[in-house]
């Protein structure tokens, strides 16, 4: 299989083979060509060369509709739901498209949707999809694919926005499907998931097939080495050795509609984690604090001085920045060049006198920050839309780093980022923390919280239910605190 976008050769000689009833993982760095290959299989993109065979028969797939007819289901890396339409209708959209029924089902549609959703999450199928949080939307996407009568199911980073809890539910479903003879292609950057859930793993690099193995035959480092093509060291940077320094940010009694009485402080040198289940309100807390949403009440101190944050522009002025969990919706400008994206938070940095933008400086800034994040892009002049998912995430992160902030609130910072780059980002965060930047990380990926953070706050139903430090940061403790009604139980853990 080959595919080029202009001079970018996304796929050189990619090949992939899937057997009935197996869960086959596809791994590779950001921009390795995984999504491109899947898009070709689903008929969204047309290959420049190569062929697809199903049951040994060569097939031509020229549209997603054709792919569906062949029994291929696809959960995309980028969430694509109709925001104004109810969850139920979103789930049955493909069905409606191919249905021979003339009329829409009424209430029965909602019941059927509820049934599909039940094993995954508790979501009201009558709500418009646009009102759901990103992770809930991700679950709807999965539910949508499950309604198809498919023989081949492609899941492109379905767990990137999910917590361990939901992910486990998904794996259960996947195993059930595989047992019924359905072949599943599973793309993920989480090594544990690949090795724990899948039967075989294929590694791609630079658009090429590298190796395919049974998971029982390989170790995580085999896979990672194949991905990056060289030896890698430890995944997480060392944690803070001495006790944290002065207080950078203190928040007291922050409250709004979806969270209450949130207090915490952020100290020099440490990385603070915020854990919890989907919908716990972690994103809301960060957005409330930065005035991006709602009208949160409460007091905030920055470097020991109490501040009144008027709006987000004011926050940026004071050096507080927030990375959104929804990179496509509000994280990046897909249609604008990478350089313009990275400069967006503070254009003065790339401007000369009288606010005249200096193109060379803008490009240089993009190059510099892009390099430090291992951004894989041909040129800073390219539109962000032409990047792979993980690289878009790096652009979103680069936007924040460009303003040299004092406090960074990161919502799912490494969502969709490959192992190598993830370690790189973690390293950068650690470096920033040591340099005196306050860092708060919201993550649904437990290993990230555990491996990266010096201290973890757990949120459940809009309240902070507990604080974990050092060796107490374990999967079990976090999950216990995160469970609904955890407030009562929190005493026992300390």
């Amino acid at each position: 299989m080959t595919k080029s976008f202009g001079a970018i050769r996304a796929l050189r000689s990619a090949q992939f083979e899937l057997r009935a009833g197996e869960i086959h993982a596809l791994a590779g760095e950001n921009g390795a060509g995984k999504s491109t290959l899947m898009n070709i299989i689903d008929g969204i993109l047309q290959p420049d060369g190569g062929e697809i065979r199903i049951d040994g028969q060569p097939v031509r797939i020229d549209s997603p509709a054709a792919a569906q007819a062949l029994g291929i289901g696809f959960v995309h890396q980028e969430i694509a739901l109709c925001a104004d339409i109810s969850v139920a209708e979103n789930i049955f959209m493909s069905r409606t498209a191919t249905s021979r029924r003339l009329l829409m089902g009424g209430g029965d549609l909602i019941d059927r949707a509820a049934k599909v959703l039940a094993p995954l999450a508790d979501i009201d199928p009558r709500l418009p999809a646009g009102q759901l949080s990103i992770s809930q939307q991700q679950l709807v996407e999965i539910a949508k694919a499950l309604t198809l009568d498919c023989r081949i199911l492609i899941l492109d980073e379905p767990t990137a926005a999910l917590t361990e809890h939901e992910a486990q539910k998904l794996f259960g479903i996947m195993r059930g499907l595989a047992a019924r003879g359905i072949g599943i292609i599973y793309i993920s950057h989480r090594m544990a998931e690949i090795l724990g859930t899948c039967d075989r793993v294929t590694v791609m690099r630079d658009g090429q097939h590298i190796r395919t193995d049974r998971v029982t035959d390989v170790t995580p480092s085999d896979v990672v080495n194949a991905m990056v093509g060289r030896q890698r060291d430890a995944l997480f940077p060392p944690k803070l050795a001495e006790p944290p320094g002065d207080e950078i940010l203190r928040v007291e009694g922050l409250s709004d509609l979806r969270f209450r009485n949130v207090s915490f402080s952020l100290k020099r040198g440490e990385i603070l984690g915020l854990g919890g289940l989907i919908g716990a309100g972690r994103s809301e807390i960060a957005r409330g604090l930065t005035r991006l949403e709602g009208k949160a009440t409460g007091r905030v101190w920055l470097h020991g001085v109490e501040v009144q944050l008027r709006d987000y522009a004011d926050c940026i002025q004071r050096g507080i920045v927030y990375l959104s969990e929804d990179r496509k919706g509000d994280g990046v400008f897909l249609d604008l060049p990478i350089a313009a994206n990275i400069a967006a938070l503070d254009l003065r940095r790339v401007a000369g006198r009288f606010g005249v933008i200096n193109a060379a400086r803008e490009t240089a800034q993009a190059r510099r920050i892009g390099q430090s994040l291992q951004l894989k892009a041909a040129s800073p002049a390219h539109r962000v839309a032409s990047l792979s998912g993980g690289n878009q995430q790096k652009v979103a992160l680069a936007k924040l780093l460009a303003v040299e902030p004092k406090v960074i609130l990161l919502d799912e910072p490494t969502r969709g980022v490959d192992v190598g780059a993830k370690a790189e980002i973690h390293g950068i965060l650690r470096g920033l923390a040591e340099a005196g930047v306050g860092i708060l990380v919201i993550s649904s990926e437990l290993p990230e919280l555990i491996g990266l953070c010096d201290r973890v706050l757990v949120v459940s139903e809009g309240r902070i239910t507990g604080e974990l430090t050092g060796p107490a940061i374990t999967e079990r403790n976090i999950m216990t605190l995160a469970a609904p009604g955890a407030l009562a139980a929190s005493e026992t853990i300390q």
Binding site: D42, A65, A80, A83, D84, T96, A97, L103, P125
Partner: protein, 328 residues
């Protein structure tokens, strides 16, 4: 859309949030007008008001569906005129008027297909393609008639009936209007085929990923809109007994305004036939009322514009409140 929201009040169950607001505004206007003029609440006046917008409302239906699919059509006015001109010319050349009408509607559908081709296959924006179509169709009208209106006074009574006849006390044009609106409202609310229009307009990519042939949907809604313009043109011809090459200049803004007041969004995925028709009723009601009250010409535009703005603002707050309440 509205079909899936939970427990709601009686009115809003009947109409949906958006429509309720409009119904309220229209009722208030009705009350005010009844007080202001004794002639307002009379059957002849109601009849005249209904006649005034019934044909254009057919175009509103087409435009609303097109808007929902994410498109727009600036050529409705000149395509309607072209329909009149084509049917009129054929009739004057001895073709049976019913066949002439069918051919005219077919020609309009053809124009819709050409617009659809440029939008879906070539990949241009509806706005620019239909702007060109607007100019070209107007040119065709001029070319066909030499700029002169066609006198079709000799149309057989049976044909004129669709424009000026009555069934009982109800004018045929209003009956046609009610049927078109009822049919398309039902289709759009309840059938799977028209549901795809919402999906396509709401998020074309998501729809395509779900196996919907979105280009086909967009193509068909484009053709439908032009076809309904053809139907409207034929009825206008029967009603006025003439075909005017300059008919319908500026119609597009009126029609789009009606759809938008009725809840359609210019970015697609939203809107309803009932809402759009209520929007058309509101606009028409304001015009008729100002005429009935014999308000000075120089004030009419100012009042119309202000009422339009006030209605949309009021409706906006109402929908927002209802939406907020619904979430509680």
């Amino acid at each position: 859309m509205t079909a899936t929201t939970p427990e709601r009040s009686f009115l809003s169950r009947l109409f949906g949030a958006r429509e309720t607001g409009l119904v309220l505004i229209i009722l208030v206007l009705f009350l005010i007008m009844s007080g202001a003029s004794e002639h307002f609440m009379t059957w002849p006046n109601m009849r005249a008001m209904a006649m005034a917008f019934s044909v254009e409302a057919i175009v509103v239906v087409g435009m609303t569906i097109l808007l929902i699919s994410g498109g727009i059509d600036l050529s409705v006015g000149s395509v309607t005129a072209l329909s009149m001109v084509v049917a009129g010319l054929l009739f004057l050349n001895g073709v049976n008027p019913w066949i002439a009408a069918l051919v005219a509607i077919g020609v309009c559908a053809g124009i819709g297909a050409v617009i659809g081709f440029f939008v879906t296959v070539v990949g241009l924006h509806h706005f620019i393609v239909t702007l060109a179509a607007m100019v070209i169709a107007r040119g065709l009208c001029l070319l066909g008639t030499g700029g002169r209106p066609l006198g079709l006074y000799n149309l057989p009574e049976g044909f004129k009936w669709i424009g000026i006849g009555s069934i009982g006390v109800i004018p045929v044009a209003i009956v046609i209007f009610v049927i078109v609106v009822a049919v398309f409202d039902f289709l759009l609310r309840r059938t799977t085929a028209f549901r795809l229009v919402y999906y396509t307009g709401s998020n074309e990519k998501a729809a395509a990923y779900s196996g919907i042939r979105t280009k086909r949907v967009i193509f068909l809604t484009t053709v439908l809109c032009s076809t309904l313009c053809g139907v409207a043109g034929v009825i206008y011809m029967a009603r006025f007994g003439s075909a005017q090459p300059t008919f319908g200049v500026g119609m597009e803004l009126n029609v789009i305004a009606a759809a938008v007041i009725g809840g359609a969004s210019l970015s697609g995925g939203k809107g309803s036939i009932l809402g759009a028709i209520l929007g058309a009723v509101l606009l028409s009601l304001v015009s008729s009322s100002l005429a009935l009250l014999n308000v000075s010409v120089y004030w009419q535009d100012i009042i119309r514009g202000s009422i339009l703005l006030a209605a949309v603002t009021f409706d906006h707050y109402l929908v927002k409140r209802q939406a907020a309440g619904g979430r509680a």
